[in-house]
Symmetry: D2
Subunit: 119 residues, 4 copies
């Protein structure tokens, strides 16, 4: 159907949750803090929440940064890591850099606010 898309043009809006395994202790805050530093160095917009981190940017860069987090957490001593990534792309509208995850949240908040006003 229609025009083709290249992977390298795709803007990815994502969220990931990295889980160090085989670490001998159930707490993983130190490893996640290490990821925070990797994310900061990447320059990509990100925001941590209670069960993962919102992250967005060009597809390849988003994947690269999550891989860099794995490398850093292995470097901290974790022998195994399992990560869950949610990643989305769309071709129906342009997403201004850095507004993807935020925009989705705001839209839901606007709908809820509109309904409250109406009631």
């Amino acid at each position: 159907m229609s025009k083709s898309t290249e992977r390298t043009e795709l803007y990815a809006v994502a969220d990931f949750c990295l889980i160090p395994m085989g670490t001998g202790e159930p707490s993983v805050g130190e490893y996640i803090a290490e990821c925070h530093k990797v994310l900061e160095r990447s320059g990509l917009p990100f925001e941590m929440h209670g069960y993962g981190t919102n992250l967005e940017g060009p597809w390849d860069q988003v994947c690269k940064v999550i891989g860099d987090c794995h490398a850093a957490v292995h470097g901290q001593g974790a022998p195994r890591i399992a990560t869950d990534i949610r990643i989305g792309t769309r071709t129906d509208k342009e997403i201004a850099a850095g507004t993807g995850n935020d925009g989705k949240l705001k839209r839901v908040q606007e709908i809820l606010a509109r309904e409250t006003t109406r009631a």
Copy 2:
């Protein structure tokens, strides 16, 4: 290996991302707003972010509420729904109700703050 645990005693710290399918339009804000209302009625602590919703409570209640969101979104007209759930439990420490996701985030922030102070 020690004492056994019952599912019904497990406190679940979770995050879920619900995706309506076959809706004819790519935007899903209206459906997610509907989930927000279901979550509010549940009384469980929750917080939406850009790519999902933090949620926590007893295992069975958390699962029940997410199922109620599916029912509500089907009621809004979505013929199919695919949800990704991240759900965690732990037996090494007691989690005070409503502090699970928040506590994880705060611990990472404390580690980062401590390191900044030290530097």
Copy 3:
């Protein structure tokens, strides 16, 4: 927009990947074998693959069994567990019990076979 659906009527087609944390060793086969036994006792259709387990049944039963897996793995000594669940429901067609995941796979295989024949 139409008729409502109840959560308790929903048939869930799911897949989950359970990750024991803080176990001191990176291998988790023993814990997953324990889950296998819990799944067998449940009577629900399931099938393990390389990165998780297909599972289906009524919504509440699917969630209950995964919770029972958490309880069993905690009983084996894992102090913390993080699970990723993919769970889907649909109201556009009836799914005969036990055919949900298999049916999806078969449909893709049929499409591919049809195209090969045509070529």
Copy 4:
């Protein structure tokens, strides 16, 4: 602690579930069949199951191929796509190319077989 790891050296054992959105119809088999072709062209080992596809290879290649699936599915007309990826790496042992997901499954089956023999 110890030696560092580079992202570019990481071997990733993964599983992904791609969900086309806004397609107007709940069935997605045609899109998933398209992904199958992209995966075949990639040369990476993969295997579809009822709720996703096992896939493995060097980190960057695995991510690239999933991105190529997004591009192909957009090319088929889907305006929006949401994918869930589970991706794991380990430094405690070498994984022979193509044996990561299979090896995990076999290990669980061996444990179960051993226990049955013992009983």
